[in-house]
């Protein structure tokens, strides 16, 4: 019998709390790193399933790193050199009523270029960049999530940004 019942993941209320706490971040991490093709929703849930199956062996404070490691490995097992394809949301023309068709087309091309540039980024750089700039996660939060230092996070974001900038040079106004 575990000493501290409140810290036992096997207890459903505790597990549910953990699920609600980490599921979104885990999913987003997988999505940004590996794209939508490999079904980040399923993989993230599979990682939680594994956590529950192993609930006796994992303590609460180790739960997060367990989830991220397991989910990552599941993805890697499936990948086999598939190219990551992120989607970008097509801009809704209705939002830009005062824009000319040329502008809209250019915007579309810009976003397509952006998509490719993101796909070409090193996985780690892409994840750090998107978690920070799209999800609004702070550097130290990202560092905690990925098990790296804040300095490394800063470096990855900086490098990612410069690469994007180079790729998108042509669209500079």
């Amino acid at each position: 019998m575990p000493k501290d019942l409140n810290h036992n993941i096997c207890k459903e209320t505790v597990f549910e709390r953990i699920y609600n706490k980490y599921s979104k971040d885990l999913h987003n991490y997988l999505y940004y790193k590996y794209g939508a093709q490999l079904n980040p929703n399923d993989k993230a849930q599979d990682a939680f399933i594994k956590l529950w199956d192993n609930c006796k062996k994992v303590t609460i404070d180790k739960a997060k790193s367990f989830l991220f490691t397991v989910a990552n490995n599941m993805m890697l097992n499936e990948i086999k050199h598939q190219k990551v394809v992120l989607k970008h949301q097509k801009t809704n023309p209705k939002d830009y009523t005062n824009e000319t068709p040329e502008f809209i087309l250019e915007k579309e091309q810009f976003l397509e270029r952006y998509t490719i540039a993101l796909s070409n980024l090193n996985e780690e750089q892409r994840v750090a960049f998107l978690l920070n700039k799209v999800e609004g996660k702070k550097h130290n939060e990202i560092a905690d999530m990925l098990g790296i230092t804040k300095k490394v996070v800063e470096y990855r974001i900086y490098t990612a940004y410069n690469k994007l900038k180079t790729e998108l040079e042509g669209f500079k106004i």
Binding site: S23, H27, N41, F48, I49, H88, E135, E154, Y161, K165
Partner: protein
């Protein structure tokens, strides 16, 4: 201020007010803003989302029930396979299709072998043979005494502790008791080998090794007398004669004042103990005592 320095700090969200102003004045300020602004188009939640807890739980439960169902099948199969393998090994090595026949004291029996050879077993005797490949290999183990009528065919071997008897279509008697090995041929040819002594016996010949002493004799009988419920002996120790009496009647005999190495020639019947005792003791100048519980004491007369 250095452009790269400003951009670095901007990315870290650590610009001071003065630095913010300088950043806005950079020539690619708009471009920088566009890149970051448009990153929002790639937000994960526009394309993919993780299920909430309730949906997850349903999925988990669904996944787990089939596993639980099979959980008892697997261990059951494991146990079953162990049982099957154990039985397989047992039957291959130990069971081995061996037919065993054992007679008890005062019991005789006749066995027919797969090739129609006949074996008559005397009391307290035991044979073992493989029924399945009998036609290819006629070989049996004998412990005790048996009379054989061997059908013509391939070589027939009787393996005893003290020697091997090999025949091809004959009738002969093999007796193997404690320190007593005797083969008598009644018909045909029998080869007997024990240690270094090998002899070929014709009808009427007998081969004996008693207490490690070899002797050859002749007999005029056509079949061993015990198959007719009479035991007969020619120059055999009282010890051995009484041992046979014990086997035929399922009794124990104790000696008082008797030299059991004395040689006896004669016989006794198998169906009347008193008569048998008289047959043995009288010619040897001995007396006997028969108690109600079946115990027999043989006394030697003092000379």
């Amino acid at each position: 201020m250095d452009k790269e320095y400003l951009i670095e700090k901007w990315l870290k969200d650590e610009l001071s007010d003065a630095e913010k102003e300088a950043f806005k004045k950079l020539d690619d300020y708009q471009f920088n803003m566009d890149i970051i602004e448009n990153a929002k188009h790639f937000k994960a939640s526009h394309f993919s989302e993780i299920n909430n807890y309730n949906v997850f739980k349903k999925r988990y439960d669904k996944q787990n029930t089939p596993v639980v169902k099979l959980n008892w099948v697997r261990p059951l199969l494991k146990i079953a396979s162990v049982v099957v393998i154990t039985l397989g090994i047992y039957f291959t090595f130990f069971f081995n299709n061996l037919t065993k026949v054992q007679t008890l004291a005062s019991e005789k029996t006749i066995i027919e072998l797969p090739d129609q050879s006949q074996v008559t077993l005397n009391a307290l005797s035991f044979i073992k043979y493989n029924k399945r490949n009998w036609d290819d290999n006629r070989s049996l183990k004998l412990d005790g005494e048996a009379y054989f009528k061997v059908a013509k065919g391939k070589k027939f071997d009787i393996i005893t502790h003290d020697g091997i008897v090999t025949v091809v279509g004959t009738q002969f008697n093999v007796k193997q008791r404690n320190n007593y090995f005797e083969v008598t041929c009644f018909e045909g040819v029998v080869r007997v080998s024990s240690d270094t002594i090998t002899r070929q016996l014709m009808a009427g010949d007998s081969y004996r090794i008693i207490n490690n002493i070899f002797s050859q004799n002749k007999t005029t009988s056509v079949i061993p007398s015990w198959t007719n419920n009479i035991s007969s002996f020619e120059g055999v120790t009282i010890k051995e004669v009484v041992a046979e009496l014990e086997r035929q009647y399922n009794i124990r005999v104790t000696f008082k004042n008797v030299n059991t190495e004395r040689l006896f020639s004669g016989g006794f019947i198998h169906n009347n103990l008193e008569s048998a005792l008289i047959s043995i003791t009288q010619p040897m100048n001995m007396t006997y005592e028969l108690s109600k519980s079946g115990q027999v004491i043989i006394h030697g007369k003092k000379n």
